[in-house]
Symmetry: none
Subunit: 337 residues, 2 copies
């Protein structure tokens, strides 16, 4: 976040319980160390585990570090409840949660573009001043994120479904590999690597998240466990219809996830074109698209080095797909389908 | 596989129950259609669902299509058992399973480099002739794969652990999204997308795989279900140690997966360019690349709707990267780094 703000020329002050992290972040251009006597900032961002948000907020407010406060914890009900209990000033606190992250943490893993195009949840309460919400919204937008205003409890149930529950499921799948025979590990392909990627995350970070959102997460993983147990029984009984039904539901659920442009995956139509694998061919292809007035939303190129023909998949709005295919065929391209 | 073999100049004959697929594969340079009267091939590759392998093998052997036969089904005990029951010639049949695949199928999704660096299981039996194993090993190596010789039952338990079980778990996580509220889908990040990616696969393909490997898959998903149910109970009881233990085991299991081999991404250099999000811009970009004599191996476009500027990542050979960056900068493009 600091890198993104520095890139715009904003002033950033850094503080951390680990002075090495502050020094490293400073060296990476993320800002300068916070000094005693610095005036209050426009916004203070509190980046600590969910269980530590309220106490950190209280301390920051007592020191008068900023005019507006936000946090980035993955759970929102608990920090808000505890902040009220501790007597924090809730008028200038906007609970926040940017939905972006990496398996690695610390300054060296930071990227200024981490939040570009990502959702960023904000959970103001009836007590929050509009100016505070505006300031934190501006911060999120400065990082390239898209804000989503949502109630704290609704947020927590939502992230249990799309983040915390899947995290525990990934860990449970990966846990089966702990005692797997070598030959099985040698047969691992991309599928299991994708399913278990987030299981590589730091357990000490995640236990804080999961235990702060215990009931919603437990509901999700109980439901996943029940589906898996029922599917195991169906497999043993040869009840293929029940197994297919889970796969069908999984496909339907998966397709509901929005695509990377913030639209539903599958909102774009794909036009496939065979192209010779040599310099200049893609230029001719995109020229034809430009003449047809069609904006290419995404491109995939499938070819092997050295092969004479590749397949280019152009993602365009459904309304433009036929026009593009016609224009390309008229210019002699091979457009299957 | 045909694309990889054609690249080496090998002769490939294609047949399929769908003549359109044969025509498209032929057009893509994967070989020529199989004709009546073609002599026996060195190796015939049978690419059908597990339940259809034995009958297809018997038919191919009756027609004398090849001297050696192999298949690529994800399950090995069932095809071998059924081939013996049907009276197939087992001396010249080597059950095989290349561990590579995509969510999409059909000739347009084919890539000749799909198997590069990937494991390829071979399950010869005491009846299999050494010459047959040699021929199929040569085929796998010609595709760039690394062969792993393993017994059929050991193979099936292994793939239940590293492929079939994770597939069902991904479907069960994705199934929770079927009825998820819109706000939850809007908060989805990369984690749940990775966990559920393989849930987008074709259920009709996977039901054949799972039901042909029912017991080993049921054992794996029962164990995952038990871990998830126990973790849900631990979360509800506030038993943090038990939750942390699952996360720790998941991390250990995940780290046992061997690193990705033959990763194409690592062999190319990436040149990032900022481009205005409007028709014709990509054409100008690729035109510049063509002028520089640089072949674009892959393209990624990252942008959000409504945002005026996107980032295009061009993958090129490392030797061409500097030349491309210079040419683009000379033409006024913004090329960071």
């Amino acid at each position: 976040m600091a890198l993104a703000l520095r890139e715009r020329g904003d002033e950033v002050r850094l503080t951390d319980r680990d002075p090495v992290s502050v020094r490293m972040a400073t060296e990476l251009g993320a800002g300068v160390p916070l000094e005693d006597g610095d005036g209050p900032a426009d916004v203070a961002v509190i980046a600590v585990p969910p269980a530590a948000v309220a106490a950190t907020l209280l301390d920051a407010q007592k020191r008068g570090l900023a005019r507006v406060y936000t946090d980035v914890a993955s759970v929102k009900s608990r920090p808000l409840r505890e902040a009220a209990e501790l007597g924090c000033d809730l008028t200038c606190y906007v609970a926040g949660h940017p939905l972006a992250g990496r398996e690695r943490s610390g300054p060296a893993a930071a990227r200024g573009d981490l939040f570009v195009g990502r959702p960023w949840a904000l959970c103001p309460t009836p007590k929050t001043l509009p100016e505070a919400v505006e300031a934190v919204t501006a911060l999120a937008e400065a990082c390239g994120a898209q804000t989503v205003v949502v109630g704290a409890e609704e947020h927590d149930r939502a992230v249990a479904l799309v983040s915390h529950g899947p995290h525990v499921a990934a860990a449970a799948v990966a846990a089966r590999l702990e005692a797997a025979p070598e030959v099985a590990l040698g047969l691992a392909g991309q599928g299991v690597r994708d399913v278990t990627r987030i299981a590589a995350s730091d357990p000490s970070l995640w236990i804080g998240i999961l235990s702060s959102n215990a009931e919603p997460v437990a509901d999700v993983i109980d439901a996943v466990a029940a589906d898996l147990a029922a599917t195991a029984a169906a497999l043993r009984a040869g009840a293929e219809t029940d197994v297919t039904e889970l796969l069908r539901r999984g496909g339907t659920g998966r397709r509901r996830l929005p695509g990377k442009h913030g639209d539903r995956a599958g909102t774009y139509a794909v036009v496939s074109v065979l192209i010779p694998d040599r310099p200049g061919e893609l230029a001719l292809l995109f020229q034809a698209a430009g003449v047809a007035g069609v904006n290419i939303e995404d491109v995939t190129i499938e070819h092997s080095p050295g092969r004479p023909v590749g397949v280019v998949e152009l993602s365009v709005t459904p309304a433009a797909a036929q026009r593009l295919a016609d224009e390309l065929r008229a210019r002699g391209w091979s457009v299957p389908g």
